[in-house]
């Protein structure tokens, strides 16, 4: 297999509240021999909120990010579902609407850039599965995750709207997604089947509709707990932040005790590939997760 090389769009959370996401992503890439170039010029994707305020501005900023991946001639990989969605939506809008593309390029020309539409945009999860390959990952496992029942939480913005994502997510069925389950399998963990795996975590209304947010996240975690999960794993840092940080609040709202570690997808892979504790960064979790390293080798 020729060496894989990607332009990494980190997004904002990996640079701030979830440094463990960035360190574990880079550690996994390093172990697998995947070359990563971080797009240090890339700005925030707007996270759907900038889009609510000013859709055109959001397209301009996202197109600018993609320009930097195009300059490198690389596929842009994301490590956040919401970054993936907003970048892919801009790409789709510009590639299918020449008039909009021209209007955006008119702005980009002012800073010496041009959006061409030559780079693919893919979440790291699907780069690992569809391009690196599950069998190849399996060969590199040094710490099988067989001690754990792992509940995959897919996160909305990687699987819906399916029409937008199908070109980059292996045709994932949004009503019965399998990619994370298959990855857990490849790492010899036990995937937990539960009905909330493809549901919403409520992150995006955390501030203005707190009750809704707590109920959605709480129901998902309780469903995972009731199906004997030892941990949840998600490819989205926003799902992670919601589900990791607010467990006591959501527990109060829905009337259940909730204590469950929530891992980022690359942390789970890093654990199985034998990356260091520092690279895993489990100490950055609000819900205690550091014991997982020891539990893995019991």
């Amino acid at each position: 297999m020729s060496k894989l090389k990607y332009a990494l769009y980190t997004g904002c959370t990996a640079k701030q509240s979830t440094p463990e996401l960035l360190s574990s992503t880079l550690a996994v890439a390093d172990k697998l021999g995947i070359e990563i170039i971080i797009l240090e010029e890339a700005s925030c994707c707007g996270a759907s909120h900038l889009q609510d305020f000013d859709e055109f501005l959001a397209h301009v900023l996202n197109a600018r990010n993609i320009c930097y991946a195009e300059k490198l001639g690389l596929t842009m990989i994301t490590i956040c579902n919401t970054c993936q969605l907003n970048s892919a939506m801009t790409k789709h809008a510009l590639d299918s609407n020449p008039e909009l593309k021209a209007r955006v390029n008119e702005k980009l020309a002012e800073v010496g850039l041009e959006y061409k539409g030559t780079s693919e945009i893919k979440h790291f999860l699907y780069a690992l599965i569809d391009e690196y390959g599950l069998d190849n990952i399996k060969d590199k496992v040094v710490t099988p995750l067989s001690n754990f029942n792992i509940a995959p939480f897919y996160g909305c913005h990687n699987i819906r709207p399916s029409e937008l994502h199908h070109g980059s997510n292996g045709g994932e069925n949004p009503y019965m997604p399998t990619s994370l389950d298959n990855l857990i399998d490849a790492l010899e963990g036990n995937p937990v089947d539960y009905s909330h795996k493809n549901k919403c975590c409520g992150f995006h209304v955390e501030l203005q509709a707190n009750h809704t947010s707590e109920v959605l996240a709480g129901n998902a975690l309780v469903d995972a707990i009731d199906n004997n999960a030892d941990m949840v794993v998600t490819p989205c840092p926003l799902c992670h932040l919601k589900m990791d940080t607010y467990q006591d609040d959501m527990g109060k709202v829905i009337g259940r005790d909730i204590e469950l570690p929530v891992l980022h997808m690359p942390q789970m892979v890093a654990l199985a590939l034998g990356c260091s504790e520092k690279e895993l960064g489990l100490n950055f979790h609000v819900q205690k997760a550091t014991q997982i390293v020891e539990d893995a080798s019991k």
Binding site: E41, Q51, D52, F53, L57, H157, Q208, A209, V286
Partner: protein, 330 residues
């Protein structure tokens, strides 16, 4: 004509609200051909297995919206959804369910009154003083029609409404279908109630700011109306038409520009302080303490005049692009 028929066992959720204490699932063996629809499966159950099986059906042409149900949680219009495609999607194991189990009257038939109430709330019609005996039609140009962005294709089947997780938690929320209608009539140049509708859809708990952005509605719609796109347009229109009031949700949206202009990145601490205001921060002190303890945030984050934020390279480009591209104001 292919004679290849697939032998399958179809499950159906059964319940009669008048006589049953609990719902139950029944299995029906049948053969399914490549051109058959989910509606054909329901007809087979009723005509060949159990005449009491109940569902709504009318046009059989994907236009009346009566036969919408769910299959394995997926919203489908029974007269449009190919059965083999669906069987392939779910490894031949499918269960027919009503759109909303808690609203079930009999089997697939639900009480849709909540859906119609929300439509009435947004005045889903053109509000205009028109001559009751007009001399000619009130014509619309192609451009005026295109501005409706296919919102007019909605058949009120309820697929998006009963796929929306917010409505399960917050019964005041208008939901995707009514919000599509609110957009459709507010975008109509003949309409005179668009400000009133925008004000309604700007209200907390009721309007667009309670959308969780899960895209379940976009996935569910059998007519490809893409409801969340219209919800996004309503967000934009609230700012364009100066209906948006300064509150936690609107400041959160607008605050992204402030952060991106300063750092390129979103300043996660600042956006919370900016959206809530300093007085509103008391709600977040416990969370901030937990996040600080685990090293997710730092004491100086969100404190004015201390800039500990990482910056993107070539930030000046982003600042210039904001200056020349932004059109809306809060």
């Amino acid at each position: 004509m292919s004679n290849d028929k697939r032998k399958v066992t179809i499950k159906a959720w059964r319940f009669n609200a008048q006589t049953d204490y609990l719902p139950y699932t029944k299995e029906y063996k049948m053969e399914v051909g490549k051109d058959e629809l989910v509606l054909d499966l329901m007809n087979k159950i009723k005509w060949e297995h159990d005449g009491s099986f109940s569902y709504r059906r009318s046009c059989r042409h994907g236009i009346c919206g009566a036969c919408a149900i769910k299959v394995n949680g997926k919203s489908v219009l029974a007269c449009k959804q190919n059965a083999i495609e669906l069987l392939d999607m779910f490894n031949n194991e499918i269960t027919l369910e009503p759109q909303s189990k808690k609203r079930a009257v009999k089997d697939m038939i639900i009480d849709k009154s909540d859906f119609w109430d929300k439509h009435a709330q947004v005045k889903s019609y053109v509000v205009a003083d028109i001559d009751p005996r007009p001399e000619s039609e009130s014509k619309q140009s192609i451009a005026q029609f295109n501005a409706l962005l296919d919102a007019d294709l909605c058949i009120q089947c309820g697929a998006c409404h009963y796929a929306c997780p917010v409505l399960e938690v917050n019964e005041d929320y208008l939901g995707p279908a009514a919000l599509v209608a609110a957009f459709r009539f507010s975008a109509d140049t003949r309409d005179e109630a668009s400000k009133e509708r925008l004000e309604l859809t700007a209200q907390p708990r009721i309007g667009v700011w309670d959308c969780v952005k899960c895209y379940e509605c976009a996935e569910a719609c059998p007519k490809e109306v893409n409801p969340i796109e219209k919800i996004g347009k309503l967000h934009n229109m609230q700012f364009e038409q100066k209906v948006a009031q300064s509150n936690v949700a609107t400041r959160h949206a607008e605050g992204f520009v402030r952060s991106i202009r300063k750092h390129g990145f979103l300043d996660e601490a600042d956006i919370v302080v900016y959206s809530e205001g300093y007085l509103g921060m008391y709600k977040h002190l416990k969370t901030a303490y937990k996040m600080m303890k685990s090293g997710k945030i730092h004491w100086q984050d969100g404190v004015p005049f201390i800039d500990s934020m990482p910056k993107i390279k070539n930030l000046d480009e982003v600042q210039k692009l904001i200056d020349i591209s932004m059109t809306n104001k809060l």
